[in-house]
Symmetry: C2
Subunit: 346 residues, 2 copies
DNA sequence: GTTCTGGCTGGAAACGCTTGCACATCCTGC
DNA sequence: GCAGGATGTGCAAGCGTTTCCAGCCAGAAC
């Protein structure tokens, strides 16, 4: 059907071994020979069969990337960043990025149980939730290199924002505006105290609240699923409180956007009666005027690929951990607390 | 390093051929044998090397999916839908979804020139722009099955919304509200008259405008890049017109969201002085109150996989083309034109 | 004119799996 | 009892590469 290396060898009048060397740019091939082989390959529209290459050589640069859901903004950014980096490589050919969404399989646990990445990728970028030591071991056993994004693990290279600090700075921003009653919405970890990015953010919120001596009403923390819908539902519960908050930090921008609209629908002015801060700087956040703690997710995707590749080539090099910066983007959903407005007019 | 089929064969006391058959559920394997093999494989944590399987058997179920950019909402939805469908398969094991973003390579042309999918996937889902006959041929030559999403090609199965009709219905909605001066924003095809989804939508807008006898001022069509930023920039140009439009149909929701905010910033009330309709029903659209022509992108991703698989297995079956429905979602960015407000107060 | 390098090249053995084919066995039904 | 299917299993030939190893040939050094 399609040309094989033997066809090329025949046409160029050399052996398959030489074709292999010539085409991959290995040394010890006479320039004239290389040229002849290249021409033959071009004429025949030859490309090496990746399966065969991989079987024979062990080589192959394919990296898997584990995200929660391909449909989420964050995960799309990460993929795009990783892909761009992979394409920019010198040996651009033969790269392969395969996404796994843990949500579609049985969560991260299910994924690591089934390990569909075995014998398939050289490296794995995990951007979903924390990894237990056991899980890291399972990945290592499979012989694949690991890099994490959004959280760190002692034995694997990785990068993340300081999740807790991001949330804390959201609280601090509101406090500086005079808010004393600042709420939180986000996923709550039912399986004990996890170290997911969301849990870290919640910790950061709690720390900021305490540090600033703000209201510590437990009712100010409401669980919410990470979507605009989740934000809308959660904010309604907050606003029904006997004394509603005047400030809100949401675990993600999607949440904040949903909350923002629902609060307005409920008759609360934003930021007049409720100031809202998100985290992430989603694409549309700028355009809905959402104040947020921004991070550059795409750059993190690219950087993760770099770390993975470095780790892969340098072998036992030291484990690199990076904390990437976030920045407060003040837009139009936060403002000074209205004098004496601890209990806003409903 | 990792267990091979021979290890399993040894442990189970059978030949590798039997292991292969037993593990893949082929007939003609005694139940007791199959059980023994399965146990051995489990003990050894054996998984077949996909590269070797592929080389030997030719089989493998990997599908490539070509989108414009992994970071876009639309493309994320499509991927998620396709992945879910692939995972739901009976022979769920061994599937593989590899995304290619044409934006990151040299556009769709560059992608089809390089054809990184050769000898790598059984099928390709193309969701970016139209495909010329020549391009379809190139894909066919490579021996990969093709399915299209968002547009159709005569010789390949595919599905899409009626792009033009979607835009037309946006115009019709505004007309019904009394608008006579309805603008359009979206990408314009510089390479002659393409048949990209965007170009189709523009055609639909023009048709709707004509059909309704609306203002045909050419200045009402402004080019915009498909992002919130693009929408913001484009709407500013529209509002600077001597006679600004009272209605606007945007080629996508991202565009509409950007436009919405920028219009408000410019002092125009939405929908008081400018009514806006988007297309797609982006995740956040509901929460920013955007009126839009909605489509279920995730379902399309899933359906595309079904079509591809059917085509792959039935071989020369007839080419299936499907038009999937859209629906007008009236929210809070459209309203009746204000009496005598063809020229709104700036 | 030898011998010795070193650059090029080809032969052939993997790599780990699938599958066509042949070969035992064990039932059927006569 | 015996031909003739089923049924279950093993052997070995690939699949298209890469890579080890050996061999060839030119030119350099003696």
């Amino acid at each position: 059907m399609s040309a094989t290396i033997e066809d090329v060898a025949g046409r160029a009048g050399v052996s398959v071994a030489t074709v292999s060397r010539a085409l991959r740019g290995l040394p010890n091939v006479a320039p004239s020979t290389r040229e002849r082989v290249t021409a033959a390959a071009r004429d025949l529209h030859y490309v090496a069969d990746p399966a065969a290459s991989r079987l024979a050589g062990g080589r192959g640069l394919s990296v898997g990337i584990v995200v929660a859901s391909l449909a989420r903004w964050y995960d799309g950014q990460l993929l795009a960043g990783a892909e761009a980096e992979l394409l920019g490589l010198d040996s651009a050919a033969g790269y392969e990025l395969l996404p796994f969404s843990s949500g579609a399989i049985g969560g991260l646990d299910g994924f690591l149980e089934a390990r569909p990445f075995r014998k398939r990728v050289e490296g794995l970028i995990v951007a979903d939730g924390p990894l237990s030591d056991g899980q890291v071991d399972r990945i290592a056993e499979a012989g694949v290199a690991l890099t994490t994004v959004g959280f760190l693990h002692e034995v694997a290279p990785g990068l993340t924002i300081d999740q807790a600090a991001a949330a804390t700075s959201g609280v601090a921003h509101l406090r500086a505006l005079g808010h004393r009653r600042v709420a939180w919405m986000g996923p709550v970890d039912h399986h004990g105290l996890g170290f997911t990015p969301s849990a870290e953010r919640l910790r950061g919120y709690l720390a900021g609240r305490e540090e600033g001596g703000l209201d510590a009403d437990p009712g100010l923390v409401v669980p919410a699923e990470l979507s605009p819908r989740g934000g809308a539902e959660a904010v309604r519960r907050l606003l029904e409180l006997p004394t509603p908050p005047t400030g809100l930090v949401a675990c993600s921008d999607e949440l904040a956007i949903g909350a923002m609209q629902a609060a307005r629908d409920a008759g609360f002015r934003v930021p007049g009666e409720l100031s809202i801060v998100g985290i992430d700087d989603h694409d549309v956040s700028e355009y809905v005027g959402l104040t947020t703690i921004g991070q550059d997710v795409r750059a993190q995707g690219a950087r993760a690929v770099q770390l993975l590749l470095a780790y892969l080539s340098e072998g036992t090099a030291e484990v690199v951990h990076e904390i990437v910066p976030t920045r407060l983007l003040v837009r139009r959903t936060t403002g000074p607390v209205r004098p004496g407005a601890t209990s806003p007019t409903p």
